[in-house]
Amino acid sequence: MSNFKAHIPTGPLSEKWTKHKNEINLVNPANKRNIDVIVVGTGLAGGSAAATLAELGYNVKTFCYQDSPRRAHSIAAQGGINAAKNYQGDGDSTYRLFYDTIKGGDYRSREGNVYRLAEVSANIIDQCVAQGVPFAREYGGLLDNRSFGGVLVSRTFYAKGQTGQQLLLGAYSAMNRQINRGKIQPFNRHEMLDLVIVDGKARGIIARDLVTGKIERHSAHAVVVASGGYGNVFYLSTNAMGSNVTAAWKIHKRGAYFANPCFTQIHPTCIPVSGDHQSKLTLMSESLRNDGRIWVPKKKEDAEAIRQGKLKPTELSEDERDYYLERRYPSFGNLVPRDVASRAAKERCDAGFGVNKTGEAVYLDFASAIMRYGKEQAAIEKIDNPSDAKIKELGKKAVENKYGNLFQMYEQIVDENPYETPMKIYPAVHYTMGGVWVDYNLQTTIPGCYAAGEANFSDHGANRLGASALMQGLADGYFVLPYTIGDYLADDIRTGKISTETPEFEEAEKNVRQRLEKLANNNGTKSVDHFHKRLGKIMWNKVGMSRNAQGLKEAISEIKELREEFWKDVRVPGDMDEMNQELEKAGRVADFLELGELFAKDALHREESCGGHFREEYQTEEGEAKRDDENFMYVAAWEYKGEPSEAVLHKENLDYENIEVKTRSYK
């Protein structure tokens, strides 16, 4: 494919985006009326892109598998959204946000893209406040900020522990306004099952109506895929049950390169697995690390006793505890980036210091925060010589104000009171930095096909910093894609309506139908979940938090075998022409079974450790990730060739002109 150029504008870093906006083609408002755009996925990226494209005058069709756009999984993001507003006057700037993001991503993302992200971040906050998003405020009426992992300033805007919900409902409201105007036609409970390419350009999709089972053709002048990440390839993750790679994988199979699939984020603060019945994992916001201290017992015997229920964590004195993040990383302490915190937890648990039945949990303790806040509050309330009990009471109240809903959620699931006993946490799959390869315009290697939000690979390199996913989703959707897509659509003003009665639509529809028929009539013996769980086990054990060549090779052949077994032996009850959730799942798991193999192949080829990708063979003596900039400072973009094992690697070299590439240190 010839479309594999990043198209980063020339010129000084801080002027690239402005210059680019001034130079790209525009579509005149009267012509936008004649242009249709399909947006697949209605989370932060898709929802905001759809609304903005419609405001500009394009005719938009949105597709989501949920019953309403408001339920996309962006809704579950808790902690916050970064923006370089410098409202706190603590020295923040566009450059610092840019720098932190590049460093946080372990020097595996593009300077041009990341600078643009930092540049538009401030606009996002303005836009959301104008829409009525109720961010947290201070008593003076101005916006409040908090701090997140991997940075030294407070630039995170938040709405308690429901920031994603509030931002998504903002984008949803902007969509609703356009639906009301007739500019967006929403197709909810619909799933995209193929991309249609006509004369080398993306011209539509094949979708299945999940209520009636009807297979439909939809045409457009451009197709935007904003379908989220692929974390569910691990079966257990913090993603929603329905989150899937299908839309992204279908465009990959039609020619879009898939970049850095092995860059996956394992989030350090999730509720540990409780048993085999587990269907998903729940995240505890990273914001908790602002006040919670992470520890395990210093002595193995104590950890052992705790696992057997003979000892309580609260019975251990300060000097019997190992606050291992504070010990290993004194300058960032509990606020090291996610990949570093996750690996450190795994290291302690593997060494035998885990604190729950399975030995896979560490403590997140709020006792000192409660005392600290209690003392502050006592001083504010002018209470002389407050008793410990009074301090504790005041402190608990302060902690409740900040994290009440998270504590409540924890108690619901675990049945323990985190105000009284430390939380137990363990890392879980959370976010995928890898995704569909896109250029500076967010266009994939297929002309007219775009990818936005978590579905693309672009801005987070090998590790994403906390509160940056919401920023990127909304940056792509509100401020980047609606403009860059015009550059492409400017050539389409005379094209007219795209017909769906063409051989290309015919062929795509036939493909979709045959595959569904195969799944529905397979008459195998095992459920879809049976295969999904087995895939998840292979991924977690051999392609998870730490990887080695041997394990990856095994994973590749095991996934391939599992895929063959799936197609022979999966059982999907019910029919194609009705609501059939098992059939939906079967299609998604079939795609995960292909992606999983490419994922392991990518991890095997990248013979270095960087960000969320940790290869055991490449580490320093202290166990930190060892990058190989000489050989691997590139984006690995894979071209589909029929089987994942035959995927062809294309390299996009990364140039750092404005930042000195250094060893990432949080010590």
Partner: protein, 248 residues
Amino acid sequence: MKLTLKIWRQKNASAKGAFKNYNVEDVDGDMSFLEMLDVLNADLIDKGEEPVEFDHDCREGICGSCNLQINGRPHGPKRHITTCQLHMRSFNDGDTIVIEPFRATAFPVIKDLVVDRSAFDRIQQAGGYISVNTSGNTIDANSIPVEKENADEAFNSATCIGCGACVAACVNASAMLFTSAKVSQFALLPQGEVEASRRVMNMVEQMDKEGFGGCSNTGACYIECPKDISLENIARINREYLKASVES
């Protein structure tokens, strides 16, 4: 523990539905309610029967997809949680549990426990927004100060997840709590003022058109709301509506 489940089965919107009994064994107290249904479904698939369809997605109480009426109560016996957050430790060995979809004329059944809640979307489309276009030169966020109390109150109203428990709980199947939460969010913020009258009129009109019942202030909605959306929202929408009616 062992349980007997009485589950509403209905082939499609036009078919007649009925309760069917199922037995599940090996239910663990740490399982969520939906994970218990996963166990049942795995068993049904093994036996070659059709699994029970139900809506669910995030399984952490925020997307608003899950919506089961459990023993006659939306989201089950515990307050302030969604179905997916309900754990089996709330039940006892030998219990019989009745599981139905949320019932309302405006929420027709699609299949089994899945209902159509698109009426909620249409209420939002009628006015649940502030008419502001996306642009890179919107005024600076801090040039619109908002009193902390109002911002917090607006946030509380905005935490509605649109699950429909309020409708299912109401004898009239009224959508007042749902509609009032959105009207309140914007009524409490200066950004919402400009369109306040149009918003409340249009949203209430759409709510009536969808076939939701009137509000008779029984408060059942607020008792069953998993997000603790306050009844004050209903008082506020009534004030807003009156104000808008007088103005027009």
